[in-house]
């Protein structure tokens, strides 16, 4: 069943008219070169900017949904981890809910192992710790779709694995994810991958098919080397050294 449906969303000069369907429970990766339009797509879907086109979640038009309803439909985690104010981590998570629910907050604190950090001001935590708090905030209202912009950067290896476990559990309950990331080694964990470049979705495949596509290497300017690692792809007939 389709959860997120976007029809012809576009941002002037950054995102060509794009249509996307994400079924419920799907983990979708969003990859692409720097400046290719990953963040623009997420911002357009989250209605952060007044993009043209229409975005619906479970058939409800996001632009028409009131605040309390909207946070049950969609959550957005921007790439920036900055918080200006000395709000306790616990209270940051609380801001993700439209009414106080101490049980839900305690559950998220346990899930993200924040017990010792819960009462510390969030602007004094390390960037990785703050990423856990802000992701917990995004999950708090159990939205149908989560748009996460590079949630895994700044995390240590344990937390990268732990985040995937959490994403998979949450997705199993029917919520879906659209996650922008750079580390191609993590692609096999996703159900589907979108490649976005020049403000346009160039490929929409299962992760295994994505990386073997010819156009994939061209866009990223890399290729799979003999030992299975990625290496830089240089224009033919030019043996340049750095």
């Amino acid at each position: 069943m389709t959860s997120l449906q976007a029809i012809d969303i576009a941002l002037d000069r950054r995102l060509q008219p794009t249509s996307i369907d994400v079924p419920s429970g799907q983990l979708v990766a969003l990859v692409g070169p720097n400046g290719g339009g990953k963040t623009s797509l997420l911002r357009a879907l989250a209605r952060v900017e007044l993009a043209s086109g229409q975005v619906t979640v479970d058939g409800e038009d996001l632009d028409l949904a009131p605040e309390a309803r909207r946070r049950r439909l969609l959550s957005f985690l921007p790439a920036s981890r900055e918080v200006t104010w000395p709000i306790a981590a616990r209270d940051v998570i609380r801001l993700g809910l439209d009414r106080p629910d101490e049980d839900r907050i305690a559950e998220l604190i346990a899930l993200f192992e924040l017990e010792l950090l819960a009462d510390r001001p969030v602007n004094h935590l390390s960037t990785g710790e703050r990423a856990r708090v802000l992701t917990a905030r995004a999950l708090a209202s159990r939205p149908r779709i989560l748009l996460l912009d590079e949630p895994l950067s700044n995390l240590d290896p344990y937390w990268v694995l732990r985040f995937f476990e959490i994403f998979e559990t949450v997705a199993a309950s029917g919520q879906s994810f659209l996650i922008a990331l750079h580390d191609l080694a993590q692609l096999p964990r996703f159900d589907r991958a979108l490649l976005i470049a020049d403000g346009e979705v160039q490929m929409d495949e299962a992760p295994a098919n994505l990386v073997v596509g010819e156009c994939f290497g061209e866009i990223f300017r890399i290729r799979e080397g003999a030992d299975g690692d990625w290496e830089i792809r240089r224009p033919e007939g030019r043996r340049s050294s750095p």
């Binding site: 911002r43 989250a46 209605r47 952060v48 900017e49 949904a65 009131p66 605040e67 909207r70 946070r71 969609l74 959550s75 957005f76 985690l77 921007p78 920036s80 900055e82 918080v83 200006t84 104010w85 000395p86 709000i87 306790a88 616990r90 209270d91 940051v92 801001l95 305690a106 604190i109 017990e115 010792l116 819960a118 009462d119 001001p121 802000l134 905030r137 748009l147």
Partner: protein, 337 residues
């Protein structure tokens, strides 16, 4: 920490904040009473002559002043907290942003050049001046300016508005303008009538009430404009609203009682200790702290045994400047750490 301990800590912290709130409310009541009754000697003398006279003194002379002081302090606290939330910067405030200087300029031009004497019309001039400087600040520094840009732009605007005010006074048709204006430009509550108090307080309460309604939205803006926008808020519209309402609140008060610095900067800082760091929820405690601070400053002014009045703004600056320097130093340390 086990679950039980966590809940205990939570309860303790909530209790601590509740205690602070109650103490603050008590301090405010105490300040109001003290401001109405002190100095008590004239009241007692009047009472001995005729109880009705004491009553008259209290209602006609003391009450407008007390109301004005409380209202102005509260307006500074609320608009300071709202501006800080909007600019995502703990140094944004009516004085640092140049809004107070702009309001003074507006009131001076209205009063000495356009010949306006009706208090409410003067309040509108003050609000227009504050709006002008805040608009200029957004134009110069942008809404998401870093601290240095915000401070420099605010400083430049304040200096320009100050100079323009002096110029407007020097060239004013009335030769007494300069002397006359000195009385209120730096903040004065002496001999304000009930209608003057109303001209400041009616627009200010209206604007403040509208600002308080946006507390939740301002808390969410604290998570970043993108998150707020994804929740259906319109950050741009919200910040224009906050700027316009703060300009009305501060402008109206400045036109009656002069530009008073530092209260709008400092009150939100303390208020966020009560609101658990939330910038929007800090508005109500900021109103109370602002009212307390300004009442204390005015009490200090009245307690000085001089026949010439000391401007209230001098007192707030005397105590506010060291605090401001401390804030700048701790911010710099955090930035370089």
């Amino acid at each position: 920490m086990d679950m039980h301990g966590a809940f205990d800590a939570l309860r303790n912290r909530a209790f601590e904040r509740q205690t602070l709130r109650v103490l603050l409310a008590l301090a405010m009541l105490l300040c109001i009473a003290a401001h109405l009754l002190l100095p008590i000697a004239p009241l007692r003398e009047a009472h001995e002559i005729d109880p009705e006279l004491a009553n008259l003194l209290l209602v006609q002379l003391r009450l407008p002043r007390t109301l004005l002081v409380i209202g102005y302090g509260a307006a500074l606290g609320v608009s300071g907290a709202a501006l800080q939330a909007t600019f995502a910067n703990p140094l944004a405030s009516p004085d640092i942003s140049g809004a107070s200087s702009g309001a003074a300029l507006g009131a001076v031009i209205g009063g000495y050049w356009l010949g306006i004497s009706q208090p409410l019309a003067l309040a509108a001039c003050g609000a227009a001046g504050a709006l002008g400087t805040l608009g200029l600040l957004v134009g110069l520094a942008g809404r998401k300016a870093d601290t240095a840009t915000l401070l420099l732009a605010g400083l430049a605007i304040s200096l320009a508005a100050g100079a323009a005010t002096s110029l407007a006074l020097s060239l004013a048709p009335s030769p007494f303008a300069f002397y006359d204006a000195f009385d209120w430009l730096m903040g004065s509550f002496t001999d304000r009538s009930l209608s003057q108090a109303a001209a400041a307080l009616v627009p200010a309460s209206f604007a403040t009430a509208l600002l308080l309604r946006r507390a939740r939205a301002l808390d969410l803006i604290g998570l970043g404009e993108d998150v707020a926008a994804s929740l259906g808020l319109r950050p741009r519209r919200l910040s224009l609203e906050v700027i316009a309402l703060s300009a009305v609140a501060v402008g109206a008060c400045v036109s009656v009682a002069g530009a008073i610095g530092f209260v709008g900067l400092v009150a939100p800082l303390f208020a966020r200790r009560i609101s658990g760091g939330h910038p929007g929820k800090a508005m109500i405690p900021a109103a109370m702290i602002g009212a307390v601070l300004l009442t204390l400053a005015d009490l200090a002014v009245r307690a000085v045994p001089l026949d010439r009045p000391i401007p209230v703004g001098v007192i707030t600056a005397l105590f506010g400047t060291p605090l401001f320097i401390w804030m700048v130093v701790t911010m710099r340390r955090r930035l370089t750490a």
